[in-house]
């Protein structure tokens, strides 16, 4: 520092000058870099916001359903005591509508009147009578679901001020609806049917409960099978398997399987489970088996990563105090790796919940009305239900599709939140 002092000082100043000159540019570059990162996040959030706004905007109205009030006289003449199940309840609804609107004459006008009420009205009256046959002969006020065209009008999806030929509802029907509005006999209520009913061709009677139960059963099978098998495979590959070409080959294959398109697993399920083993078609059991095959690679990879993240000192420490290899793995390594394994499993489950393509080949893309009672009853899953509704021509299914998407997204968010919570919880303990 002392020799070549002046020259050294000059060099130092020059360097410092160069540094100072470049500083402003460097700060600008760093700010720009931060800005890129911020912009990337904002674009992502913007896309997410657009997705949510469009889906919620399309679907929030589906949580309400229009109901009409009928003063129903349970006519003993129409309801034969010995044949209550097959009595003409549609006729009962029709006769009560005629009583409400006595001025309606002519077959085509009467047909238009009957079309204001959903076919679900007749089913509702049938259930009431079967549950409590004492109501026969009495006059009871019942709120029945309105037809989906009336529902669309009440929610503003159908415009009333266009020419009659461009409308689903005729002028007369609009007049009757106005009359009902004035009498207070038409109102919108919370759409409980959406959450308690199975699929239906009538949008006002359609619900996601059947699909939700099917999804639950399929995921239950997937979880019970893929978690133990995946964890065991990862533990063996990581802790016990010798490091040779065979294990390398297995590792490459598992990584490839994680990237295989999901419909291939559906074809595999069709060939092996349905054709070879003869399992019943459209059962959540087979759906769960196919989804297991699909999530297994994900769980194995995540579990292996979790096991690799456990420091070798833990292993050596355990062996050092005299544990056997199996005790070391089960008592020391596995609990530490558990948060990562759980995260991988839950993310794999969330992916399985949203899958449609593999279930297509095994018959779960079907119209199934009844709620599945067990693992072998035919059922469908939530994303398939959304797909089937999206293909239906009735206008009222558009909002119900969006509402079902909202429900699916809520489930997925809950599952991912559970993954985060569990991971935090276990990490704290250890």
């Amino acid at each position: 520092m002392n020799e070549g002092d002046s020259k050294g000082n000059k060099v130092e100043r020059k360097t410092i000058d160069i540094v100072h000159q470049g500083l402003a540019k460097r700060y600008r570059a760093e700010r720009r870099f931060r800005l890129y990162g911020l912009t990337a996040i904002l674009i992502g959030l913007l896309c997410l916001a657009i997705l949510f706004i469009s889906i919620v905007g399309n679907g929030y109205k589906a949580f309400q359903q229009t109901y009409l009030e009928l003063e129903v006289f349970f006519d003993p003449a129409l309801l034969d005591q010995h044949n209550l199940s097959t009595a003409d309840y549609t006729g009962l609804v029709k006769s009560n509508l005629r009583t409400m609107f006595p001025e309606v004459r002519g077959r085509s006008d009467k047909r238009q009147l009957y079309m204001l009420i959903s076919p679900g009205g007749a089913f509702q009256l049938r259930k009431m009578v079967l549950r409590d046959p004492d109501i026969i002969g009495r006059n009871i006020s019942v709120w029945v679901p309105a037809d989906d065209d009336v529902d669309m009008l009440m929610k503003g999806h159908f415009k009333a001020d266009v020419a009659e030929s461009s409308r689903r509802l005729s002028d007369k029907q609009l007049a009757w609806i106005e009359q009902l509005k004035e009498q207070g006999k038409i109102r919108k209520e919370f759409n409980k049917t959406f959450f308690t009913a199975g699929d239906s061709r009538e949008p006002e009677l359609a619900g996601i409960w059947g699909a939700a139960v099917g999804s639950f059963f399929a995921l239950l099978v997937t979880l019970l099978l893929s978690f133990p098998i995946g964890v065991a495979a990862a533990v063996y590959l990581e802790e016990f398997a010798p490091k040779n070409r065979w294990t390398d080959l297995i590792e490459v294959n598992i990584n490839n399987l994680a990237a295989v398109p999901s419909i291939v697993f559906g074809l595999l399920g069709l060939a092996v489970f349905l054709n070879f083993f003869g399992f019943p078609r459209s059962a959540p059991l087979v759906g769960g088996l196919v989804l297991t095959l699909m999530t297994l690679p994900t769980i194995i990879i995540a579990s292996r990563a979790a096991l690799q993240s456990v420091p070798p000192s833990i292993r050596e420490g355990a062996l050092g105090v005299g544990a056997s290899k199996m005790q070391m793995v089960v008592h020391h390594v596995l609990p530490l790796a558990l948060p990562g394994m759980l995260t991988g499993t839950i993310i794999g489950m969330a992916r399985a919940l949203g899958e449609t393509a593999p279930l297509l080949m095994i018959g779960m893309v079907a119209f199934i009305v009844d709620i599945p009672g067990g693992l072998t009853d035919p059922s469908t899953v939530l994303p398939v239900q959304i797909y089937l509704w999206a293909d239906s021509p009735e206008r009222a299914f558009v909002e119900r599709t969006s509402a079902a998407i909202m429900v699916l997204l809520v489930f997925l968010m809950l599952m991912n939140a559970a993954a985060i919570v569990l991971r935090r919880k276990f990490e704290k303990r250890w």
């Binding site: 199940s85 097959t86 047909r111 079309m115 076919p119 089913f123 159908f158 415009k159 266009v162 030929s165 461009s166 409308r167 689903r168 239906s200 061709r201 009538e202 019970l224 349905l274 003869g278 399992f279 019943p280 078609r281 459209s282 059962a283 059991l285 018959g363 893309v365 079907a366 119209f367 199934i368 009305v369 009844d370 067990g374 693992l375 072998t376 009853d377 035919p378 089937l388 999206a390 293909d391 239906s392 021509p393 009735e394 206008r395 558009v398």
Partner: protein
């Protein structure tokens, strides 16, 4: 140690229960299994739901696999693991009937349920188009007769509707239609394109000599961007038509019926696609819908007769029935009577020319 044995026992119980459940499900399927056409699917599902809710039987399970796929599953054999009924938007082919017989499905009951119209629709924001089937053929075929005359085919040179027919508007040809896997496409090329091609004398002569060559000419649809394959989601086509008033969409009548506030059907050969015109046969682009039943399964699978009688009842397939409300075109009275009699007697399909 105790925990381990508990887990082991629980796992074994689970496996045991599901396997017995599986065995039971195999030998005692108590619901009707239906596969087949995606066109018949909206109508069959309504009948199935009605049947399930008003009888003590379970609601039939209906899958939309396409006519061809459904017949393949149907003809795979007799037994609880095979479907009982298949829907089809076309008649069963001779080769499929043969395959059925080879696999033991010998007694099939054919039931025609009604008609479905195929419409060419555009947005209400534009004027309705008045097309003839010849116009449709010239606008959409891959190879068309040389506009200069003569008996040769050239790749389709027409870009606008006016080039095809001076009476049509000067709009670019932009048609959204079904993909080659769709039964609607098969029906459309057969009913509209073939009829349009036949209007050329020399093509009609080719049809008499070599039907396959004629079909190759008539069924080929252009791939240069004027015809856009818009997938099987007809709701999507309706949305696209709403956004683009110059485009025309091809789909079934039920979608037009449910969206009359947004789209209108084009005139084909002077007829507008209304319910009455399709029912009377005046609107030319309509096709019959069928379903096929395995006689061997009746009596084994509970409820099949009930489902058949529900489908063939007047309140389902009649002119005032609930299927007509959904957009299906009912058969004339005489045909309904014939098929109802066939079903009640379970008359077996013997040959394809009756």
């Amino acid at each position: 140690m105790v925990r381990k044995t508990v887990l082991l026992v629980a796992a074994l119980v689970f496996v045991f229960v599901t396997s017995t459940g599986v065995v039971n499900a195999q030998s005692a399927r108590d619901y009707i299994s239906i596969v087949g056409s995606s066109t018949v699917y909206p109508f069959a599902t309504v009948v199935a739901e009605q049947f399930g809710k008003t009888s003590r039987y379970k609601t039939p399970k209906i899958e939309s696999t396409g006519s061809g796929g459904g017949l393949k599953l149907f003809c795979a054999g007799v037994g609880v693991e095979h479907p009982d009924i298949t829907n089809a938007s076309r008649r069963i082919k001779g080769s499929e009937l043969e395959k059925c017989r080879q696999n033991g499905v010998k007694e099939i009951v054919e039931v025609k349920i009604g008609y479905d119209g195929i419409v060419l629709a555009n947005s209400k924001k534009a004027k309705p188009m008045k097309l003839s089937r010849k116009d449709i053929f010239l606008a959409l075929a891959k190879d068309v007769p040389d506009p200069k005359g003569g008996e040769s085919l050239v790749p389709n040179p027409y870009r606008t509707w006016r080039e095809v027919n001076p009476a049509l508007p000067n709009k670019r040809i932009e048609v959204l239609g079904p993909p080659p896997t769709s039964g609607t496409r098969d029906a459309f090329v057969e009913l509209a394109m073939e009829a349009g091609a036949k209007k050329f004398g020399w093509l009609a002569a080719i049809r008499k000599q070599d039907k396959k060559k004629f079909q190759a000419i008539a069924h080929g649809i252009r791939e240069d961007g004027a015809y856009i394959e818009a997938g099987e989601n007809d709701n999507l086509i309706v949305q696209k038509l709403d956004a683009n008033p110059n485009a025309i969409g091809i789909f079934g009548f039920s979608f037009l019926d449910q969206n009359t506030d947004k789209i209108q059907g084009s005139f084909v050969d002077g007829m507008q696609p209304t319910f009455e015109a399709i029912a009377s046969g005046e609107y030319p682009v309509s096709r019959p819908l069928f379903f096929y039943v395995k006689k061997a399964h009746i009596g084994v699978i509970p409820g099949m007769e009930g489902y058949l009688s529900e489908f063939t009842s007047e309140k389902a397939w009649g002119p005032d029935g609930y299927l007509a409300d959904k957009g299906m075109i009912p058969m004339p009275d005489a045909e309904r009577k014939k098929y109802r009699a066939d079903v009640s007697k379970l008359r077996v399909l013997t040959a394809l020319n009756n």
